[in-house]
Symmetry: C2
Subunit: 342 residues, 2 copies
């Protein structure tokens, strides 16, 4: 299910992320908030509270609704305490700072509450009728869960909500093996590239020694970019519309990183090893290309995933590693044929 | 600065993580909570509130203190509203569910509040005198920041608190390049292993094609384990004392994953490629060893880091990848000399 609705937040408009909604607001909201009619007086409201009580321990507001439950305003317990008893509820209440709908993603609710320091967020249906309230203690739980889920997906694990020590071995196995299989089989692709250039490697066995370094550095550069972008998307600091700015930034960071690493590598190979200058140049140039490619792939894939309605975190390091490995090897053998004539 | 104090939480005792304290509770607490004397009556307390107001928008409790500010109890606004005016504050107040000290880590405060659904957490000095209160809106911010920091460290980035798009290119570069350099130079180690076995590779060039697959799978297995353990440590679901349980669990998961991946790989190489059975066996056995080693290294390193007072997240994927690469290559060449006689 996709949604890209907009929310009215203190005269600013917020869009729900276009992501599949797994855990909805409806599942975590408290559906029996204390409601008050707008024309009641504060001392009548307090009397009502004394009768019905405040069943939810984390709620410190009452909600002012019309007869059809249309949400009119919020009245904090603090306002009830500090306002004279004869004042009408509608004169003491404030407008809700933000509202959300029950079918929205829990993560959006938690992000709004975190960003705007809200302890309660009213949930309304399409006709603005109050159906529940999300409390800050639920929001804290959602923030923790979502962060855990993102980390698990970044590490190629199917997210689970059970604590590690309570999860049976076969379940941990089941959450990890599909990704490992998929990634192992996709690495057959890099194997095929190496096989294709077997003759070149046989002629220049020295080249083999640098394959792990090239691939690891590419993987590290790619996950630096992807994790930065994934977290930025998830915190709402990066939006799809920013893709050109992100690309331009990563291009420059990639050039700086690529140039620095290539220079250090060239120095090390020339001064500290017996490698021929041509091989040193081949490795260093490939390194620069790999770093740049890794940075660009690393920032683009999560943004693209977001655009396609997928969770950006699934596009993290392992997939990027496989892709960058292929680019890196092709660049390596290309450079080798150019500079070494193999 | 290290601390391993214990906290009194509803008759349970909690230990602060033995981690360097970067961001203290003192920096986020609100230091002017509304205080009440224990012998005041509820209607006097309400009168006092009307005079002083409730300056912090996210606070819905008053704190009952003795003359020397020793914390005696908490009185929520809800209790003030629902209790008869003549009752004394000390009869209506509740004991604080948990307290924390100003020099403690913000993360511990946020974790306690999240775990026990607390909207406010009183901060006391060594003599139990009230010095401030942490509110849920601050706790939500801390949870988000700490998760971001962990993700950045897992991806070998020096954490920064600035949003990505507002961070200048050179600063992003500076937060990434030291780790890339360190990891690139440590990969020289794996390069040296390959160089050492150059003769074996020259004799069996087919072996080279499987190096990327072995190394990537090892890296993926290692980060699955390390990220799971790092997050478990950070959520307080895993403690240092659990290391043996974690190791035993990862050992079994590692055996299952290793056996499955080796079996699939053996089938693929035998049925779909022209690789000799001896090479297929060498690659598959190395794969099983690599997976097991990666799982064990991946779970041990973060726990060890925690024990040494380091942040477990710095021990994540990249370091583990380098270590597992070395183990994997040594196993590979060992198997090759055993099974292929190279």
């Amino acid at each position: 299910m996709m949604n890209s609705k907009t929310y009215f937040v203190n005269s600013k408009t917020y869009s729900a992320p276009t992501e599949p909604v797994r855990d909805t607001v409806g599942a975590i909201m408290w559906d029996r908030p204390v409601v008050l009619p707008p024309l009641a007086r504060i001392n009548e409201a307090i009397e009502r509270l004394r009768q019905v009580g405040l069943p939810h321990p984390s709620m410190n507001s009452c909600y002012v609704v019309a007869e059809d439950y249309t949400l009119l305003g919020v009245l904090g317990l603090r306002d009830m305490l500090l306002t004279r008893g004869g004042v009408r509820v509608e004169a003491a209440m404030t407008r809700p700072f933000a509202t959300i709908q029950p079918e929205d993603d829990q993560e959006l609710a938690a992000q709004l509450m975190e960003a705007f320091d809200l302890l309660e967020l009213p949930v309304v249906d399409k006709d603005n009728r109050l159906v529940g309230v999300v409390t800050a203690d639920e929001a804290m739980g959602v923030l923790q869960e979502e962060a855990t889920e993102d980390m698990e997906m970044m590490a190629a694990i199917t997210p689970s909500e059970r604590p590690y020590l309570d999860t049976p071995v076969w379940r941990i196995f089941a959450s990890r093996i599909p990704w490992l299989l998929l990634l192992m089989l996709s690495a057959a692709f890099t194997g095929a590239i190496i096989q294709h250039f077997e003759a070149a490697l046989a002629a220049q066995v020295a080249l083999t020694a640098f394959i792990p370094m090239l691939m690891d550095t590419g993987g590290n550069c790619g996950s630096q970019s992807s994790v930065t972008v994934i977290r930025g998307l998830s915190l709402g600091q990066i939006r799809f519309g920013d893709w050109l700015r992100v690309l331009w930034k990563e291009l420059r960071v990639g050039l700086l990183c690529g140039a620095s690493l290539a220079a250090v590598n060239l120095l090390r190979l020339t001064l500290l090893t017996a490698v021929s200058p041509a091989v040193a140049a081949t490795v260093s140039l490939t390194l620069a290309v790999t770093v740049l490619a890794a940075k660009l792939v690393g920032c683009c894939l999560p943004i693209l995933a977001k655009r396609l309605g997928l969770d950006p975190a699934v596009m993290a390091s392992p997939f990027i590693t496989t892709l960058v490995d292929a680019v890196s090897l092709l660049a390596y053998f290309g450079m080798a044929s150019l500079l070494l004539g193999v």
